[in-house]
Amino acid sequence: MYFGFENVTVSYKNRRVLDGVTIDIPKGRIVTVIGRNGCGKSTLLRTVFGMVRPDSGSVVLEGKKLHSYPTNEVARRIGYLAQSPAVPQGMDVRSLAACGRFPFRKGGSSREDERIIDETLQVTGLTGLQHRQLASLSGGERQRAWLAMALCRKPEILILDEPTTYLDISCRLEILELVQRLNRETGMTVLMVLHDLDLAARYSDTLIALHEGKVFAEGTPREVLCKQTLREVFGVEAQLMNDGADGYPVVIPVRRQEGDR
């Protein structure tokens, strides 16, 4: 297994949040986890950096347990964009991006650091905004700044926790197009959590539906997004159009299922 989760079980105070979750994320793919609020998606991502310790099972990188790697190496190889992160006051875009070089620092920033920061700001379209305060940016620009921070370590794996929440449709596409471009151009592996099923279908190679702490369905967007998954996982009766743009499935919700929580 290149990267993934092996039989991960997590409990919070007797409540089992993840129950033996195994997910294989092949190199160079975009894998998206979908599921209802509270189904354990964020918890799953949090196990990667040891913010949540599994009761059993482990995160795996290149066949070895992730926690057997030095902390710094993990931080260098895996980039992470948290869900709606706090906005530190008085910080500009470039300083935020520069924070992404932290795992590489050996006292002071080198010319190499500066070069990578310039490059990342270029890729994320932030060169012109680099001296602006974060607080003065629009939601989409700010999210790109956070993405730049995550990308500044040149990660081989990028993890995104609901990167499109609170963004308008154009900004959502912008973020996901950027992620997809990086995936195609650099072979960066992507693991993300998304709530927007249509976008998840459009930008992912593999979808994983998480339900009550277990993997309910796993496969291509066409395989996973079916009436049954939507009914069982989301409690929603839906129509599916399988001839949306470029042949990606499109979900048209009809109503909530009777008796659903």
Binding site: V74, R76, Y80, P85, A86, P88, C99, H131
Partner: protein, 331 residues
């Protein structure tokens, strides 16, 4: 890189302010001296009035004041980062009270150990910071819980301090500025007493800025960047206690430096701790030295303790800040 140049210039100007503060401090007073006389007094070894006033009284007092200011400002800066809240400072969250209590306890119970007073106050500062942190921390420090538990801890230690002052007045009789809350009587002995701890704390501050910047991004992001957030927070609390404890052992309950100085510094140079920490330290140094001079000359022949002057300036600033804060408690 305009920002960088402005930051460097600000740091240079603040350093200059400290220098000017020291010069003004040794020259001004009931017996004023010209710059030339000051230089002469510093060089000569003879026991003139000038030598006594400049070298034995005013200079150590100014340096002590500066050190106290620098330590409190750095400590405040660090606490604001640990708590991720700009209302934190040694005096607002009760660290000062805890350190004071440990100091009193030591003066009463172990009167022979005067020179080790900073050790007591540092331990007191550490214990009270940990207490407040543990009371207020639950996935980030809630500002309300922090202020309330700080208030409770302050009140508790304040009461205990009053008890000690009432029942052991004799034992405390000859204790120095620690009781009064000022720099009156701070001399070379006091300076040398805190210097090892202060210098140690200040040197530690050189290692912290990068991690402090990362910590402000939130625990999850910080962890993903390879920072061991719990360990780092603990280190920050230790350093901040070292600094505030050292300062409190000389100057007693000096409020507001740790709160307002990091704020003013943030307005001047921004939130990057690589610049913010040095700017806060220098500004704290300069501010306390100059306020002390002001306190000495404003109502001759009397003297207003520096802590009172700082409170007079600090309290309105604090209220204004509470009023104008944009929202919530995040940084």
């Amino acid at each position: 890189m305009k920002t960088r140049e402005r930051q460097v210039l600000t740091i240079v100007l603040l350093a200059l302010l400290c220098g000017i503060g020291i010069i003004v401090s040794v020259s001004v007073g009931t017996v004023p001296f010209t710059f030339g006389e000051v230089l002469k007094a510093l060089r000569s070894q003879e026991d003139s009035t000038a030598r006594l006033l400049v070298y034995h009284l005013r200079l150590p007092r100014a340096l002590c004041g500066g050190m106290v200011g620098m330590c409190l400002a750095l400590s405040g800066c660090i606490l604001q980062c640990v708590m991720r809240n700009t209302l934190a400072s040694p005096s607002t969250i009760g660290v000062t009270g805890g350190a004071g209590f440990a100091g009193y306890l030591m003066l009463v119970a172990l009167p022979g150990l005067g020179p080790l007073l900073p050790v007591g106050t540092i331990l007191g500062a550490f214990a009270s910071t940990m207490l407040i942190y543990l009371l207020a921390y639950r996935k980030g420090v809630s500002p309300l819980r922090m202020i309330l538990s700080g208030l409770a801890v302050s009140a508790l230690f304040g009461a205990l301090n009053d008890v000690i002052k009432t029942f052991f007045a004799d034992a405390l009789g000859n204790a120095s500025g620690f009781l009064v809350g000022g720099l009156n009587g701070a001399g070379w002995t006091e300076l040398y007493r805190i210097l090892p701890f202060a210098v140690c704390g200040i040197l530690f501050c050189l290692l912290l800025p990068a991690g402090m910047n990362i910590l402000l991004l939130g625990d999850e992001t910080a962890a993903s960047l390879g920072l061991r957030t719990q360990n780092f927070r603990f280190l920050l609390i230790v350093v901040s206690s070292l600094l505030s404890g050292a300062a409190i052992s000389v100057a007693g309950l000096v409020a507001f430096v740790g709160l307002i100085v990091p704020h003013i510094a943030r307005l001047l140079v921004g939130a990057d701790h690589r610049v913010l920490l040095p700017a806060s330290g220098l500004l704290g140094f300069g501010l306390v030295v100059l306020c002390d001079v002001l306190g000495r000359v404003i109502l001759p022949p009397g003297e207003i303790p520096v802590s009172i002057l700082l409170s007079v300036i600090g309290a309105p600033f604090f209220l204004l800040m509470l009023r104008t804060r944009d929202s919530g408690g995040e940084v």
